[in-house]
């Protein structure tokens, strides 16, 4: 259990700057997710914390101790890799006990710790098997077991679920979260999948282009995205965003008036954002249905308004068919306004 503090972290590869002064405090026992598109620097940040990448500038502290010049092995961290990185010539049990073996722990103690971790992860029947004899999900659990056995101060996950199929990913997501609730170890988790971030995190740091765009609890980011990037990155299906002009307490766009509760200057060009679930059917904006995507519990409609495609999500089934004309009432309370130039929330 430990805190992790990033203080103005910089990093460049050659002349390419990948991190521009990242500062981030992670509390004791917190599940922090770093999320962002590929190339945003999230993995680099994690690898610097792991000691696999040199720190270009700034300091990283684990449990109050600056670790910039410490080797990976002295940082008391454990990492789960996207590719699992299991030792192919060792059995599951040997893989999990390898770090303890390197520390010259007693055999009895190693066996106990491995057995304990195997029990937590339901790996007991596989301890004598080799990684090549396991399925993807089992391998991923072994990789987690290897981390648990060490009882480290911080768990690091580098896109651990990216190589699993969709169904397994959902199951493992729940397992990792349950594991964290059980062990309460400080965790830093990197992913490009905003659903993973939303479902697992205590707090999320949304990263883009080497900066943290917003830091907050999952629903904070969903309800009050600080800027256009976060608004469009968080939430599925993605938020509808289009250009408009603020006049008389509403936004004029796509040939209609869009209600909003936020304020802007009269005549100010803005971006209007509204999530697909925040439409009601009734009197409002006229739209033409283009595509209907029934998913059982909900239905997604792709509609055209003033030449622009928007997504609308409804609970349950929708009677609408392609070509129908419907009337949509955007929910003003849930509409978001962003400055057209800077993208910042208004």
């Amino acid at each position: 259990m430990a805190t992790v503090v990033f203080d103005s972290i910089f990093k460049s590869f050659g002349s390419t700057k990948v991190l521009h002064g990242i500062s981030l405090d992670i509390a004791n026992g917190e599940f922090m997710v770093l999320v962002g598109p590929s190339g945003c620097g999230k993995s680099t940040l994690l690898r610097m914390l792991a000691g696999l990448e040199d720190i270009g500038g700034g300091t990283i502290a684990i449990d109050g101790r600056v670790v910039n010049d410490l080797d990976s092995k002295d940082r008391d961290i454990a990492m789960v890799f996207q590719s699992y990185a299991l030792y192919p010539h060792m059995t599951v049990g040997e893989n999990m006990g390898f770090s303890l073996r390197l520390r010259n722990d007693e055999r009895k103690r190693i066996e106990d710790r491995v057995a304990h971790a195997a029990r937590i992860l339901n790996l007991e029947p596989y301890l004598k098997r080799y990684p090549r004899e396991l399925s993807g999900g089992q391998r991923q659990r072994v990789a987690m077991g290897r981390a648990i056995v060490r009882d480290p101060k911080v768990f690091l996950f580098d896109e651990p679920l990216s190589n699993l199929d969709a169904k397994l990913r959902v199951a493992m997501r729940a397992e990792i979260k349950a594991l964290h609730q059980r062990l309460k170890t400080t965790t830093v988790y990197v992913t490009h999948d905003q659903v993973e971030a939303m479902t697992m995190a205590d707090r999320i740091a949304v990263m883009n282009d080497g900066r943290i765009e917003q830091l907050g609890r999952p629903l904070e980011l969903y309800d009050r995205p600080a800027n256009l990037f976060v608004a469009q990155f968080i939430g599925s299906p993605a938020m509808n965003v289009f250009d408009g002009t603020y006049r008389n307490g509403a936004v004029e766009a796509l040939g209609a008036r869009w209600p909003c509760s936020a304020k802007a200057h009269e005549g100010q060009p803005v971006k209007y954002g509204i999530r697909p679930v925040h439409f009601d059917f009734g009197s409002g904006v006229e739209a033409e249905v283009v595509v209907v995507e029934p998913m059982g519990a909900e239905t997604e409609l792709v509609v055209k308004i003033g030449g622009q495609s928007l997504t609308v999500a409804t609970h349950g089934r929708s009677p609408a068919a392609p070509g129908d004309r419907i009337s949509l009432a955007p929910n003003a309370k849930h509409a978001h306004l962003f400055d057209a130039a800077s993208g910042a929330r208004l």
Binding site: I77, M79, S83, A85, Y87, P88, S99, E133, G136, R150
Partner: protein
């Protein structure tokens, strides 16, 4: 089987049969000589009238003028080949590990230098090598041939092992580092076990290269007690009336260890040991 498959199969056989004959006929010829009596060796028959194992008895009992040191010489061959193989392997493994996995500074230069050594044919280096060994006082010492063969085999061995090392997943090193492995532990506990197939292949390469070497052995070693069997066989041709049937029996015996080594290690020659390490 469809016609098309049959046709491609037939084409393969059309190539395979001549290649097989091309390879096997000389070996059969050696075998034929070795079981023939001196008189019938050149009879031109496909099978001798009176096949005999007498030639082998002669060889094993060292009962011919050219064979008085047979056991000694085959021991020399073995000793020199194993030593050269082991030293080449040790040098190449350490070089490949430090260049490929530890990213040692100057690694590229070493690799280029290793490649450069092959611009000069080994035969050109024979005389300088002779001079060098003479300076070190190693002439007529088995170590001279061992060292010479190591210098010839090591560059290629380093290249091959470096390439094989590069293919090991990098995450394994990172995982081991986080698990607390020092570079030496990484080498011993992760790198070596995963490299076994390549290591066996390179050891076999260096061993067979040395086993089959003639020129350097002929130059550097001249005493009957120090020469390997390859040079000993060459002595057979010193007279006009060479005992071909005994030469061929000896040659057949000389050819058996490499065949045995290939057979024993063939399962290591194929990779696949890293399966399951990382998602590919």
């Amino acid at each position: 089987m469809t016609n098309r498959k049959l046709l491609s199969e037939a084409k393969l056989w059309l190539v395979a049969i001549p290649v097989l004959l091309w390879t096997l006929i000389p070996i059969y010829h050696i075998f034929l000589f070795s079981i023939s009596t001196k008189d019938s060796a050149f009879s031109g028959r496909l099978w001798p009238d009176h096949p005999t194992l007498h030639n082998f008895v002669t060889v094993f009992k060292q009962e011919h003028f050219y064979l008085h040191h047979f056991w000694n010489q085959i021991w020399n061959s073995l000793w020199i080949a194993v030593a050269a193989g082991a030293i080449t392997l040790a040098i190449a493994t350490c070089a490949a590990f430090s260049i490929s996995r530890l990213k040692a500074k100057g690694g590229r230069t070493v690799m280029n230098a290793a490649l450069f050594t092959y611009f000069i044919p080994a035969a050109f280096l024979a005389v300088p090598m002779y001079k060098a060994m003479g300076t070190y006082g190693l002439l007529n010492n088995r170590w001279s041939l061992v060292l010479a063969m190591v210098t010839l085999a090591a560059p290629y061995a380093i290249w091959v092992l470096k390439q094989a090392s590069d293919k090991l997943p990098w995450e394994l090193d990172e995982a081991a580092r986080i698990d607390g492995a020092t570079p030496l532990q990484l080498f011993r506990l992760v790198y070596l076990p995963l490299m076994v197939p390549s290591l066996v292949a390179i050891f076999t390469y260096a061993l067979l290269l040395t086993w089959n070497e003639y020129l350097y052995a002929f130059l550097l070693l001249s005493h009957e007690n120090t020469i390997p069997l390859a040079v000993g066989l060459g002595h057979f041709l010193a007279s006009d009336d060479s005992p071909w049937e005994i030469l061929m029996a000896t040659a057949l015996i000389y050819g058996l260890p490499p065949a045995a080594i290939y057979y024993a290690f063939r399962r290591y020659m194929v990779g696949g040991l890293t399966a399951g390490a990382v998602k590919s």
